[in-house]
């Protein structure tokens, strides 16, 4: 390890550090020494609000929260956690976008009038305890207030002086839906320092120069692997607990197509139009101007204060209001937040924090309204939920080959029907255990989902796979599945996606490309970097052509050895990828290939700002049962078949690519 001694003795950390819980006081003190007011969570009036923090004792030690539509209660957790709850009634906008801001002073002296801008009282602040949804909300405000040619100077002055100590969520409320809005629960960017609370202290990571400087002044020791795994697993459990309450695919269009839905009138019977949802919302930004004058109006201050589209006067002009009925105002709010916000700002106006649900006095749940007004259109035909009948290792369901296509000299794609109906619920990246009598069953990635079948792309590398490749139309084989987890395609919504793979590695990613093409507008730039040994070894050549020319995917190909007909690139795919121009700030990566290749790719991605939790790989291991019972595929604390095969680099930590694991 390189040493860069600070304060004479402590070597600088390279990876995540560990901070003892009591030493969080040091962090607070350092921020205050730097001239910052530290704003963080504290218990006040029966809730965890954000307010000025000077000591560790101000934080809600051992306090948890219970949230439901229209209901918030604190409870004792029975532990010492300082961040064992989720977001409360306060949003950080209270400091970056205060409720009342004086804008202009106007004076009148005889016939002379004068207008003077009021000075902003922006201060150096540190936000302690911002969650993933909070950071996403600040990002939304950044776009709204500074993302166009018209910049709000007050916001800019305040926002520029904020140092962010983010905290990973280690718990979820019933009202959370960041997963659906692709904003959390994982904190991925937009912070200076990131804490994950563990027993006894915090895993500490940094994502900025200022964050690194602060880290180097903290009493840290390197975090152990167990601590790193523990942190990742805790956040992963939060994701699992939240689920996907509001399927976001196509939500904008679905919602805007329902302007005449009868539900608008029904929800307006319940809605009090009090405006609490909008002021609790961390992204709502509407304001109104008021004048405060002396008795004769010769000295007047115009101020901006939070307003709400739910108030009757909000859309009033002489003669009446443009949204006179409560149903109009509810519809305005919901369609803006989840629909037209995309058109105006290129992102969702909702970050899934759930504040509007908890703090609605009458408990209207925006998730229920969205699902009722704009129900999700299933990507596969609606079928009853079916568990794989052949989940157990001794039970295979037969499938029939209806087509066999030779992709390359050694690789064949089989189209199968008559399969277990469970495959209809399958997802990109999953696999099947495939068996022929007399041969050991093998895990094979599903390379295409069809309404009544699947495709498997198999490279004839050994006797079993060669026998599978040789199957003729009408012959049968045994299937169990679908098994394993999937590519987190929902996390790629609204982001750029890069897919890096080689050879047969394209097979498990092919359903991802199908899903993207089917719903292209949900995603930003999509790049596919694909390499093969020779031009003849490229899989799915027709589709590659179509994706690149018609379907809006940037396809880059390379081969190790070119023939005379090849006019494209030669070299390994990581080089191709290295040299391309791309920006990782808003990128999710899916990588499939040999582990050395995936490691090299991950390093390149990290160098361009794609954090470890946004890089996903699919792992190959010896699998026999496919459900975590046989033990063959164990990798650290994971069974690759059951917990994977798709993992983020952050999840894997330093076991990824390590020899002998």
């Amino acid at each position: 390890m390189k040493t860069a001694p600070l304060r004479g003795h402590r070597p600088a950390l390279e990876g995540p550090g560990f901070l003892a819980r009591a030493d969080l006081q040091v962090l607070i003190d350092l921020l205050r020494e730097d001239g910052r007011r530290v704003i963080g969570p504290t218990v006040e009036d029966g809730a965890i609000v954000f307010d000025e923090i000077t000591s560790l004792d101000d934080l809600p030690r051992g306090v948890g929260d219970e949230q439901a539509p229209g209901r918030y209660r604190l409870r004792r957790r029975g532990d010492e956690q300082l961040f064992g709850y989720v977001v409360g009634p306060t949003a950080w906008k209270k400091w970056t976008f205060p409720a009342l801001v004086p804008l202009t002073r106007a004076t009148k002296d005889g016939h002379k009038v004068e207008f003077t801008p009021e000075a902003t009282d922006a201060q150096r602040l540190a936000f302690l305890g911002a969650r993933a949804c909070d950071l996403a909300a600040l990002g939304v405000h950044d776009t709204v207030f500074t993302g166009s040619e018209f910049v709000d100077p007050d916001y800019l002055a305040r926002r520029a002086q904020v140092f962010i100590v983010a905290v990973q969520c280690t718990t979820a409320a019933s009202t959370c839906f960041c997963t659906s809005m692709s904003t959390g629960p994982e904190v991925e960017s937009g912070y200076d320092v990131l804490l994950t609370e563990l027993d006894g202290g915090f895993l500490v990571e940094v994502d900025s120069g200022a964050g690194r400087e602060l880290r180097d002044r903290l009493p840290l020791r390197p975090a152990t692997s167990a601590e790193q795994y523990g942190a990742a697993a805790t956040v992963a459990a939060v994701r699992a607990r939240i689920g996907d309450p509001v399927p976001a695919a196509g939500l904008q269009d679905r919602l805007l197509a329902q302007l005449d839905h009868p539900r608008w009138a029904q929800v307006a019977e319940r809605c009090i139009t009090c405006g609490n949802c909008t002021l609790a919302c961390p992204t709502c930004f509407c304001t109104t101007l008021t004048q405060v004058t002396d008795l004769v109006g010769s000295d007047a201050v115009t101020s901006r204060s939070w307003d709400s589209c739910f108030s009757p006067g909000f859309a009033k002009v002489a003669g009446g209001s443009f949204r006179s009925r409560p149903r109009d105002r509810y519809r305005q709010w919901l369609t803006h937040k989840f629909g037209t916000w995309w058109d105006q700002f290129g992102q969702s106006g909702c970050v899934g924090c759930g504040r509007c649900i908890t703090w609605c006095p009458v408990g209207i749940d925006v998730r229920d309204e969205l699902n009722a007004i704009a129900p999700a259109v299933p990507l596969v035909p609606e079928t009853p939920i079916v568990e794989p009948v052949a989940a157990t290792p001794n039970d295979f369901v037969t499938a029939r080959v209806v087509a066999s296509r030779q992709e390359t000299a050694d690789t064949t794609t089989l189209t199968l029907t008559g399969i277990d109906p469970a495959f209809a619920k399958g997802n990109t990246g999953q696999f099947a255990m495939v068996a022929l009598p007399g041969f050991p069953p093998l895990p094979i990635s599903i390379s295409r989902f069809l309404p009544d079948g699947i495709e498997l792309t198999i490279r004839g590398a050994g006797p079993a796979t060669k026998a599978m490749c040789a199957l003729q139309v009408g012959e049968q084989l045994g299937l169990r599945g679908p098994l394993g987890n999937n590519w987190p395609l929902d996390r790629a919504v609204g982001r750029d996606l890069v897919i890096v793979t080689g050879g047969i590695g394209l097979a498990p990613l092919r359903p991802v490309l199908h899903a993207i093409v089917a719903d292209r507008r949900r995603f930003g730039d999509v790049k596919l970097f694909y390499g093969a040994r020779t031009p003849a070894d490229l899989l799915y050549r027709d589709e590659l052509e179509r994706w690149g020319t018609r379907d809006g995917i940037e396809v880059s190909l390379t081969v190790d050895r070119a023939g005379p007909d090849w006019t494209g690139r030669v070299g390994i795919v990581t080089h191709l990828f290295d040299q391309a121009a791309w920006d990782g700030a808003n990128m999710i990566a899916f990588v499939c290939g040999p582990e050395r290749m995936m490691q090299a790719t991950a390093t390149t991605l990290a160098g361009r700002g794609v954090t470890a939790s946004r890089i996903h790989v699919t792992l190959e291991r010896h699998m026999e049962c496919g459900i975590g019972l046989c033990g063959h595929c164990q990798m650290g604390k994971y069974f690759v078949c059951r917990d994977g095969p798709v993992f983020s680099i952050g999840q894997l930590g330093d076991i990824f690519g390590r020899e002998g694991i």
Partner: protein, 284 residues
């Protein structure tokens, strides 16, 4: 109404009361910082709470406190309106009928004979009603009592000739701007803030209490929606919910309908008295 000719001198201001406790008038006297400036800009010609000087008008601005509650009030308010250019009602009594309007759901004769030894000397109407039920009102300041900030805003608007900036929005908006934690969500305390017009600075929630609606219903107040929620989600008996609305502004719609529907006033009656304004009306 008189013509709106420009006022050359200081506007002549009167302050009068009907059935009320005088608390709103006191708010005017309590404007300590602004009081001298108010006197500089307005000529106070009639203000019994402050001065023995009397005037019979005319008034450029007349502040009217209190509800119409006696037979003599009926003629007096009409007469005052004739002598006034801008008539401003102040407080829950003048704008909504006040707490005394709870008798509108009761048996007026029974009240009189139950309370007074000689009810024949008591000249009161069966219903206590807001000023606007009798004459045209130009502006109103809500609340029990009125808010000094809103009063200054109204005075300022009168001197500068602009529309007073009295927000028509829920009390909740002020709670949220001030960072007050919602008492209904966090403590289960029933609160009328959602259906009540703002202006008080959310004073009750700031001290951990539910709003009891003294500023009266705001525009399009969904009192029925709140009632359904409190009854169903809050599991509260209907009379308890009815009593929430049976306060200082109970006689303003839609609070009035809620009180009638839910039985928030314990009188044995099922509804407010009829429209009669005689002393004998309103038998159950």
């Amino acid at each position: 109404m008189a013509s709106h000719a420009p006022v050359a001198a200081r506007p002549r201001v009167g302050v009068v009361k009907f059935a009320s406790c005088d608390g709103c008038q006191l708010t005017l006297l309590d404007l300590e910082d602004e009081l001298l400036s108010v006197v500089d800009h307005f000529e106070i010609v009639d203000f019994p709470e402050a001065s023995s000087t009397r005037s019979a008008g005319p008034y450029d601005v007349l502040f009217v406190e209190g509800s119409v509650s006696e037979p003599a009030h009926l003629e007096r308010i009409v007469e005052l309106r004739r002598r006034t250019r801008t008539l401003v009602t102040i407080g829950a009594c003048a704008t909504a009928g006040g707490i005394q309007a709870l008798r509108n759901w009761g048996d007026h004769d029974a009240f009189r004979s139950g309370v007074y030894a000689h009810p024949e000397f008591i000249h009161s109407l069966a219903r206590s009603t807001p000023i606007a039920e009798h004459v045209t009102v130009d502006a109103e300041l809500r609340g029990c009592p009125i808010d000094p900030g809103q009063l200054v805003e109204l005075l300022t608007a009168l001197t500068t000739g602009r529309r007073p900036q009295l927000r028509d929005e829920a009390v909740c908006m002020e709670c949220k701007r001030l960072g007050v934690v919602c008492v209904m969500v966090s403590k289960g305390i029933p609160c009328l803030g959602q259906v009540t017009q703002t202006g008080c600075g959310a004073i009750c929630p700031r001290f951990g209490r539910g709003c009891y609606g003294c500023f009266g219903p705001r525009e399009q107040a969904n009192a029925a929606g709140l009632t359904r929620h409190l009854q169903m989600a809050g599991d509260r008996p209907r009379e308890e919910v009815g009593r929430l609305f049976a306060g200082f502004t109970a006689y303003s719609e839609p609070f009035r309908s809620m009180v009638t529907e839910l039985g928030g006033v314990r009188t044995g009656r099922t509804g407010p008295a009829g429209d009669t304004t005689t002393t004998t009306g309103g038998k159950a």
